[in-house]
Amino acid sequence: MSGTLEISNVSKTYDAGGENPVKALDKVSLTVNQGEFVSIIGPSGCGKSTLFNVIGGLIPDYTGEVTIDGHRIDGTHRDVGVVFQEESTFPWRTTLNNVAFPLEVQGMAREAREAKAREFIKLVGLEGFENHFPAQLSGGMKQRTAVARTLAYEPRIMLMDEPFGALDEQTRLLLGDKLLEIWSTLKQTMLLITHNITEAVQLSDRVVVMSYRPGRIKRVIDIELPRPRSSEVITTAEFGHYVGDIWNELREEASRGMADAEEKLAAR
């Protein structure tokens, strides 16, 4: 399983020929190497979701090129596994059957897929909850189920859209530890989309700061905090420097986004 993602000169304009064209992405170029953990951070309206959908193959009509291990993306494909921010576990399936889902649709025999699902359930720390339904789990456990399900798909690249965005800060920090543990075991390429600076610094090798509309890459910051890293890292001075550095880049963008949103509300 390889997993190098190359994004070169990707642009996307919504309503291109219409009255109010919105340039969501403007010539975005980024390479994520195999086994690397990269976060993309930016204010609302920076084109994060558009980029996410382009990589996931959900927006086939973009300009530029996105390749995974050399193959161009132009439609839904099996190379990327996605974890959504919203609750995405199937409420009618147990943890075991949720995690086995991608294997089931691929036609894997019951015993094989359940054995494999159990491995990933163990990996995300949900042993003992195999036969629970999502309604019987906490928010963090549901998101771990979703992570395990996507891992079981064995994608070349894990694409996570604010996977812990709906959880409280403490749970989020602890799940970050869990995610790093899984990442170091599987050596999976990870691309995380977030607007949480702490989360980006805690987890990533590199943090990509994006500008407010049109979405461009403003700066790429290498996070040279030691690995293996635990959530204790947030108490160190270096961590604080990185957070401050990123916020300096982001503040202007976030202010522009906020002013824009308020202007729109005022015009209504």
């Binding site: 959900l58 839904t76 494909h77 959504f84 649709v105 309604a135």
Partner: protein
């Protein structure tokens, strides 16, 4: 189970005992009031036999239960119900899914459905008698018509409320069209369809009984009308109580069934959804 247990363990047994006490007291009070009314009736202040004593009604219930004619009429009503409900709900589920899947079709047909759906279906009774005669066919048609609306609305709503995130999950896992239907759409629809079926079932019974009382030559509604015509009031009450008991039993059975299916999803939000159903 995780959810239903909470109230019981937190607040102990006392509220449950209180609720049962109130329920039993209510029945006792109503029975006493009834007997008072019956006594007043016997004294000549009311028409004789309008309020028969509960003992008379009790005897009539026993008589009814051992009367083969009762089962003959019960069979007719059940047959009308099974056929009418099956036809009506099958069409309703099909139309509901089509409406949910195709916004154009939904926009086209929704105003008509809303219009007819909010009309009391009893006004169509004369038309059904004209079209299908006064036998069991018109009752089946009435059952189908009554069952159709709750099922079609519930199914359409269920289709529209399918989680878009779950559909995107299916997309990112590269599900085929057929897999999208069998693995995501169908399981998502189990609950709304069952809720609709349960309501439709109850409303179809009402529709059929009304049609039988109005114009028929068999069925429980016919038998009620017959007792009324013969001024066999105790027997009429007896039959009403039996129908009430049957309906309550059917409702409990449906609740248990739905809760079974719901436990799979860990919830019981749709409990008692059909209790308030009327024509």
């Amino acid at each position: 189970m995780a959810q239903t247990g909470v109230i019981g363990t937190v607040s102990g047994l006392r509220p449950r005992i209180t609720v049962n006490t109130i329920r039993i007291t209510t029945i006792v009070v109503l029975l006493v009031l009834w007997e008072v009314l019956a006594a007043v009736g016997r004294s000549g202040l009311l028409y004789k036999d309008v309020v028969p004593s509960s003992i008379q009604i009790g005897l009539a219930i026993i008589h009814e239960i051992f009367d083969p004619a009762f089962y003959h009429h019960l069979g007719i009503t059940l047959a009308e119900h099974v056929v009418g409900f099956t036809i009506g709900s099958t069409i309703a589920v099909t139309v509901g899914i089509a409406m949910g899947a195709n916004p154009f079709f939904r926009k086209m047909i929704e105003p008509y459905l809303n219009g007819i759906g909010s009309t009391p279906k009893i006004i169509f009774l004369p038309i059904l008698f004209l079209l299908f005669g006064t036998g069991i066919e018109s009752k089946m048609a009435k059952g189908a018509l009554s069952a159709f609306f709750p099922v079609v609305f519930s199914t359409t709503l269920g289709m529209m409320l399918i989680s878009p995130v779950l559909l995107r999950v299916g997309q990112t896992f590269s599900l085929t069209r057929r897999q999208m239907v069998s693995k995501i759409y169908m399981p998502s629809m189990v609950n709304p369809i069952i809720t609709g079926l349960r309501l439709g079932m109850a409303i179809a019974v009402i529709g059929i009984l009304v049609a039988e009382i109005k114009f028929s030559n068999g069925g429980l509604g016919y038998r009620i009308a017959e007792y009324y015509d013969q001024f066999a009031i105790a027997s009429m009450y007896a039959l009403i109580i039996i129908i009430f008991a049957l309906a309550a039993a059917a409702n409990v059975a449906m609740t248990v069934l739905q809760d079974r299916l719901n436990i799979k999803q860990g919830g019981s939000a749709t409990r008692n959804a059909g209790l308030g159903a009327s024509t």
